[in-house]
């Protein structure tokens, strides 16, 4: 955890006796109204890696393929290869240490819940929240199939077996360690005069590299 976050926690603990949470009952302002169960259910579309929020439903790889061709392939390509500059969804296995890594669902995404959660809330692009839960199960199954995580085309993904799937890159994430791994950036007393033994050399220039890139080599901000 970050230094400033730790500081914040210390401050919170120190103030615990006075904190709004500790004395919540006495400090309520009576603003807002109680949300109804129906309102919460309609908006609560998130799905977490532990299965929290996973709705009832089911869908097969084959059903997902039909949906994918109809609603997704136009941007993402027939095989998840990504048309134009739309995101690549499949492939890239073993590419994460390469100069041009392909960070796809299969090669990079650590949790299948993220696939479900994202499709459900944001896809298809321009027609968000239009898919049924069964359709999202089917599309998730198909994307996992495109990435060879689900091999059987007859496989049905559902609420019960959802958590049995393990994503290949699941264990490759670790919490921010900049304050230890990059400790040398703190407390340095940088040189101010006669700092270089040799004159600085220009290593790269925007005017040379600043070419309109093709689809594969262009930098991305997404």
């Amino acid at each position: 955890m970050s230094r400033s976050a730790k500081r914040a926690i210390v401050a919170i603990v120190a103030l615990a006796a006075l904190s709004p949470l500790a004395s919540a009952q006495s400090t309520k302002l009576g603003l807002g109204r109680e949300a109804t169960a129906a309102e919460i259910a309609a908006w609560d579309i998130d799905v977490r890696p532990d299965g929290h929020g996973l709705p009832p439903g089911k869908g097969t790889v084959k059903q997902g393929e039909d949906l994918y061709i109809a609603q997704c392939a136009n941007c993402h390509g027939d095989f998840g290869e990504g048309r134009d500059r739309w995101p690549v969804l499949a492939g890239g296995h073993g590419s994460l240490r390469h100069e041009r890594p392909d960070k796809t669902v299969g090669s990079f995404w650590p949790h299948q819940s993220t696939v479900f959660d994202y499709i459900k809330r944001a896809m298809p692009f321009g027609n968000a929240q239009s898919l049924t839960n069964d359709e999202v199960y089917a599309l998730t199954a198909y994307l996992l199939h495109l990435n060879e995580i689900i091999k059987d085309t007859n496989f049905e993904l559902n609420q019960k077996n959802f958590l049995s799937i393990k994503m290949p890159n699941a264990d490759a994430f670790y919490d921010d360690d900049r304050e230890t791994a990059e400790k040398s950036f703190w407390g340095a007393k940088p040189c101010m005069t006669n700092c270089l033994k040799e004159p600085p050399k220009i290593g790269s220039r925007a005017r040379v590299l600043d070419v309109t890139p093709d689809n594969k080599s262009a930098p991305r901000v997404d």
């Binding site: 949470l21 109680e34 929290h52 944001a122 994430f173 900049r178 950036f185 220039r205």
Partner: protein
């Protein structure tokens, strides 16, 4: 030379520069050319001394002419710009703040860079609701009017996209300060503290994380640690005194001081309190930092200290020998800026810049170097220090630890090469 002639000379040279550069640069060049071509302004000798200029003779516009004021027509080139080839669609895309045209520390509302994942939602504030639910005593639904009845606070903070300078990890690529550093802005927010809203719902002791979610067509969702939510996060409804701009999350956005811009959910409609993170798309597939060993850092929320010289820069070349004002911005997600060093000779010798104006916690900070330029080639860099003792690293120092596939959190030192004719280019030295 007069200001107007200078402007014309500058704009003409910008045009010539665009035409001259390699055809491969077509996209950016066209963009630059379009921007410049639209704004070629000529000086009129009849308005120059000793003549009496036209504006001294005739009446100007009435007070009814501009119910909502706009910048002078001579400032039309000061706009956000995007790079069309950068993203697949312009709805899920980004544009950039024209840092080289601004001064002081506050970004005008209409020039704050935009980053949307499903376009800028247009929301009637009467129909906007904020839902707080999950691990709370009582789930609550708030109207905008409800939120404006909580105790109000004002804070100035920078918002920087984690991908700012992300195109530059492998070396100098984009020839313009607007494009290399323009995914940052700094405004005064008015709003309410998130801790007060959470207290109203009553957060259960098992709460550790919040999911914050937008009402846009991306339903942008991120996980926010409860400590940060209680420490200083805000729900803002005003920026620089007026209502949030549509593209900045009108009518309500989250403010997460010092942390990466993606967490500052716009059009925020829902806060779910939970006991673990959601690991949504924008905190796994995106906004995680791929290291050279193939593993990835996650939860890299804080934006480390960074700075850039905004003038001169490729879009703002030096135009005079003799006295010049070099200017730049520094900021840190960990606190206040304590010092900025500047070198003009590629790092051989450094001097402390003059910091001017307000120095605020996790805010852009303005610095100047007053220079007598004899026309020698310069390699200009700036290096920020913050109050935690962090010193802005070089790009080589960052790559040594992280590799070049990080995309995010590139806070390395920027180099501008200024040639004898004042033209300025984005380069990397080593």
């Amino acid at each position: 030379m007069t200001t107007d002639t200078n402007r014309r000379r500058f704009l003409t040279s910008a045009l010539a520069g665009s035409a001259a550069i390699a055809s491969g640069e077509a996209a950016l060049a066209q963009d630059k050319a379009k921007g410049a071509a639209a704004t070629v302004i000529k000086s009129n000798p009849k308005n120059l001394p000793p003549n009496v200029p036209i504006w001294s003779k005739v009446l100007g516009d009435s007070v009814a002419a501009h119910p909502y004021g706009k910048p002078s027509k001579f400032e039309k080139h000061v706009v956000r710009r995007d790079v069309e080839w950068l993203t697949a669609s312009r709805e899920s895309s980004v544009n950039f703040t024209p840092l080289h045209e601004l001064d002081g520390i506050i970004t005008p509302n209409g020039l704050c860079f935009e980053r949307h994942h499903g376009g800028a939602a247009e929301i009637n504030p009467l129909d906007h609701r904020l839902l707080v639910h999950g691990l709370v005593d009582k789930p609550l639904m708030f109207t905008m009017d409800d939120l404006k009845r909580f105790p109000r606070t004002n804070r100035v903070h920078f918002l920087e996209c984690a991908a700012n300078s992300g195109m530059e990890w492998r070396g100098a690529q984009l020839n313009g300060c607007q494009f290399t550093h323009g995914m940052v802005h700094n405004v005064m927010y008015t709003g309410v503290l998130l801790k007060d809203i959470l207290a109203e719902a009553g957060v259960k002791p098992t709460a550790k994380w919040l999911q914050v979610e937008g009402a846009d067509s991306a339903a942008m969702n991120r996980s926010l640690p409860i400590e940060k939510a209680l420490a200083d996060a805000m729900l803002a409804f005003k920026m620089n005194g007026e209502a949030l701009r549509t593209e900045q999350g009108y009518p309500l956005r989250l403010v997460v001081p010092g942390w990466e811009g993606n967490l500052w959910v716009k059009w925020i409609r829902r806060i779910e309190v939970g006991d673990q993170p959601w690991l949504a798309r924008e905190e796994t597939s995106k906004y995680t930092d791929l290291m050279s060993d193939g593993r990835s850092r996650r939860y890299t929320f804080i934006m480390d200290a960074k700075s850039v010289v905004t003038n001169p820069s490729p879009e703002a070349p030096l135009r005079h020998k003799g006295r010049n004002v070099l200017s730049g911005l520094a900021w840190s997600g960990r606190g206040k800026i304590s010092r900025v060093d500047v070198t003009l000779d590629g790092g051989r010798n450094w001097r402390e810049a003059r910091i001017d104006g307000l120095v605020l916690d996790r805010s852009l900070t303005r610095f100047y170097i007053d220079v007598d330029w004899t026309g020698q080639e310069m390699m200009i860099q700036s290096r920020a220090h913050d109050e935690t003792g962090y010193v802005q690293p070089t790009k080589d120092e960052l790559r040594k630890i992280r590799g070049a596939n990080n995309i995010y959190h590139n806070n390395g030192i920027q180099t501008w090469l200024v040639r004898a004719n004042g033209e300025t280019e984005n380069v990397e030295i080593g």
